[in-house]
Symmetry: D2
Subunit: 366 residues, 4 copies
């Protein structure tokens, strides 16, 4: 494949540029019979969409999704589901001035090296705008997994710069623009983002995502391990520079006696592994973290060059997020949903003959 | 694919169990005309192989590779290259006692959940023994990339438990059993491993891998970004729980003014991004880090259950590494080589029409 | 993949039902820099579209294509090209009466067996309407190959029922509704189709397609041979039941002395192999034939059953082609273009290091 | 993939040259729990192997298969099954004289065009020797399908040159070297082959293959239709130039009233479609035919050129089949088994939620 398709059996093929007529995707492989309409997809799109608070980019996009195929009389038919989102607020003129200039740490330079040409309007294909279609496709996977297994996939922000947020109260995550589960931190986050805007700077963030009630057995050793595909999925999100499964980087300083998850007849006694052993889901909660770099589009001037290789100072104007991480929580949830969905279909395809003995212990930690 | 093939154009299909007759792989897609013999592959296999020092598992394996196809009169022909490594030191009886028991934090439990059956001898397919074939396949990619671009791929250990190793002197990396580039730390590492063995415990490690002289333009947005495929590749190595590209998890606390890599007519002024922007190689050095969990096979007894779900205490005997990370450096190098090789062929396939303008700045940091 | 994507590097992912809101596809992997607009695609769509003569279905579809992405300032950017065609003339009520009945030799029964549900309106996904997007995607491949190599891909009808048409005059192929290169046969074809309509019956057809000026070296032994992928491509067209490469089925009665294509310093002395040996293009003209079954949708009543398994007599009304083969010529051209395009990119990816010696003989037969 | 892997979930990756040390394959995706040993594979290999009668090539190969992985205590484990067949009778010196010459209608010329290099010994990778591994892999699929559904896959010769063989008596197919089910024709075939040998010529053949008791629902519209993948599979066999499903090329002259398979409460009333409608299995017997060209390796001299482009007359010596079709029956069976197996797993992966209503009619024709 040429890089724009994700998944082997549950396949999402994405298309569209930030300032083109539309973005969208084709979801191929969705099992038939799932009740589905735009109303199942729109809520997650609305959680991700820009312009919802003063803390994110002010670009105004309705992000209204249209289902073009694959659904008949309210149910999926097993044929490809095409999703279309028209772009409505493209101010290309904002980008005329950077037409010949490479923005520091943007995809500009690499795209020209690769393709010899680039759509400079808002980053074109490299824009985070593309992630809207991941969220739309992920919503379908989320719904299937929830109806089939009761799987719940959810995420929140864990850290923004030096501010650490506890996973204290899931009920408030969607009540603030930061997907913060720690109400006491919200005012601090507001102050930080305000300060960054006035300073013309940006900041990184660390996000957490988990999936509960995941059937055991998902993941294909050795290369398509569930954790490897999760790492692929999360690292494919714009600006992500690090991915952790379970204890993540912390394992470097851990002892085997501390890290290993012991078992008892009542279930696992710990979940340091993040619900995945040998690349296969154990039935425990799967959880991961991903680090998002500070937005490169800032108003503080930086040294750069133009397409002729001449030096220049540049200042990115236009509408940007001081912290792209703030809107990335629904994207991480979507990517985890796509990975689990694909692996469920792959697992079932190869192993549906297997009957799991009743003596198996419960996966979830008591 | 069913999980044992890596790559789209440069495809490695791996097979074999820890205690079966053999392990090996088929490398499909290697360009024709590359001078190749077992002598090009054996050195990396020897770097990874067990039993070379008292600090790693004492299993004795010659890890002698045989090329079965794809090479004619000393050159690759463009047809599949099959590599075979016979297992020579399988002491299956070591494993009889764990036949019905799930070892904590091993793949045992998950494998039975998935397949309803498992080869319990040394972990079967889930054993790190499988990584030998990755190293063998990676050696082919390494050689091609070096001859074509002068690319050098190398790695070293950065941390073991609390011991941090500087990347001080690449010339000594292969002179100690830890792949440590910091001679002063070697005695400390020796002491740590000795202590762990006597305590019946194990420890985690963080490894570093880099590739210099990588052509710009490698990576397929949006899902098959070069960094996403690197994360997939490194996370697919046994026991890896975290992957970082460039600044990695550190970006969480960084400012945009600090992190963005500025450009000048003489080249990039920094490389926080790890040589990848927008998922595409920039021409700078590509570097990544991966965290490996402490070995789960330790002699300190732990709580577990048997296949009937009954509780039991268990103690893993057999021959194990107190720190699996110690032998994982060549594996990380191999996986990076496989990713770069595959993306070079994919990039060339789609974009060979593109001519890079002479005005392009040098990618490497001056 | 889940069946709706064609190609490995030049990937076409198709979506849409006959009577849904739209059909379309995503073309991923098109090299950057190709001049492209709707005007390059529309002509082939118009050649295939229904309602253009009284000899084909009277459904009226503008088949107007819209490019949604992947093209910037008139050139492809190397990112996915999404093509959208809105359905405009869906008379679903025509199909209400067959809602519970399986039409003989249609996909109805098999779709319900597979998916447990079907979009009965005009066959939904199984309708030949889907082939419009293949023609649209194929037009892009055709243009690239023509600009790069001067490749010309063209087809014509060779036989309809008992009427055999010579490949006499390519210049008239598009001047009649049958894609017939044998002007003298056109009146006979007109009479045959008129007769079939009044009799409520249909007829089969054999089509020919060729590609001239194809570079040698395309095709990936052993499974993805160029001829194997061509057979896959042509057999994937609705109603095709047979595919021939070169001499095709005729080889059964041929001698080696007769069939083998001898070589001379001036070039090949014959082309019985259809331009492909060992699964690889030889540089000669590639040609193939495909047989299309008679339309199953005929007004002569036939025995069938309903979804409850009860017997019934049924008569297909609605708007249909007495010979679906009549509109299938552009589809065969498109599929051949997609196969050659994909294999060109794959070949270049693996083998671009190879320099072809100047001593090579010309591929084309003098 | 690079052309040597077949299948999406049940994946066979083939390797090996005619005169290299070995040939073999990796079968990835086989469901766990299948009883399997070399004894299940060897019989089909023996049916295909050379040197068994004076009517085929006299090369003597034991074709002894060794299972290297994926089987534990007599059952498949769900991990890759590697199969190895050592070459034992390579007389490379036979080929020294053709080292610089392109044999007419062989892969020689095209391979050099593609790879710039070729293993000239017996055709290297392009040799029919490679098909032995297909037969080995197919035997695994055959066994699974037979145990799961009672599926029987079998083939026979239908025509050799002008001699037509009826499918009269399946019980005698393996009792003669031609896989002929028409005992009366055997002496004629013997006489024909004897005559061809003395004349230094060869002949083509048409083979028939069928699968009974195939579950309905297999096949992935639109591109991976079951018939399209069957065409791909059969056309990928060396020397095949035509493939027919059901009525095949005959449909060109058929009427809809004649060809459509009507249905009754007792089942289908005919099977012109070959058990596949809309690209999906209907539950009826699946059958196909494939035409194999006359062997190009004949002792009658022919015009050719050498690598320098100079004209020369050449005469192929060495050990060859006067009719390669004679040994191709087990290969066709194997390819059909691989296609059905892969599609069963793919179908189950996406559609296992679907419950087929009891009212469904039996697929098989009464």
């Amino acid at each position: 494949m040429s890089g724009n398709t994700f998944g082997k059996l549950f396949c999402v093929t994405s298309f569209g540029e930030s300032h083109g007529p539309a973005i969208g995707c084709v979801v191929d492989g969705c099992p038939p019979g799932l009740a589905l309409s735009e109303a199942d997809i729109q809520p997650d799109l609305d959680r991700r969409k820009p312009g919802t608070s003063k803390y994110v980019t002010q670009r105004k996009e309705a992000d209204q999704v249209e289902i073009l195929s694959g659904v008949f009389e309210g149910r999926t038919t097993g044929t490809p589901i095409a999703l279309l989102i028209r772009n409505t607020d493209q101010r290309s003129y904002d980008y005329e001035k950077i037409k010949q200039v490479f923005r520091p740490n943007h995809a500009d330079y690499a795209y020209v090296q690769k393709y010899g040409i680039r759509d400079h309007r808002g980053g074109g294909r490299s824009s985070a705008r593309e992630t809207a279609v991941r969220v739309a496709a992920g919503a379908i996977a989320k719904k299937y997994l929830h109806e089939k297994f009761g799987t719940v996939i959810r995420g929140c922000v864990e850290q923004v710069g030096g501010i650490r947020c506890a996973t204290a109260d899931w009920s408030v995550v969607n009540d603030n623009p930061f997907f913060c589960a720690d109400p006491a931190r919200v005012p601090e986050l507001e102050a930080l983002i305000d300060a960054l805007r006035s300073e013309g700077d940006s900041i990184g963030a660390k996000l957490y995502v988990e999936a509960t009630r995941v059937p055991p057995g998902l993941g294909e050793p050795v290369f398509d391990r569930l954790d490897a595909d999760l790492a692929h999925a999360l690292m494919s999100i714009n600006a992500v520079k690090g991915v952790e499964i379970g204890d993540g980087m912390r394992v470097v300083e851990m002892r085997g006696t501390e890290h290993r998850d012991e078992l008892s007849p009542e279930g696992f006694l710990a979940n340091h592994s993040g619900g995945i052993t040998g690349g296969i889901s154990s039935g425990q909660t799967i959880y991961a973290r991903y680090a998002i770099k500070p937005t490169s589009s800032i108003t503080t001037p930086g040294r750069s060059i133009d397409e002729a290789g001449q030096g220049t100072d540049m200042r990115t104007t236009g509408r940007h997020d001081p912290c792209v991480g703030l809107r990335a929580t629904p994207i991480g949830e979507a990517m985890m949903a796509l990975v689990l969905m694909d692996h469920w279909l792959r697992h079932r395809g190869q192993n549906a003959d297997v009957t799991v003995a009743p003596s198996r212990i419960p996966g979830e930690v008591p």
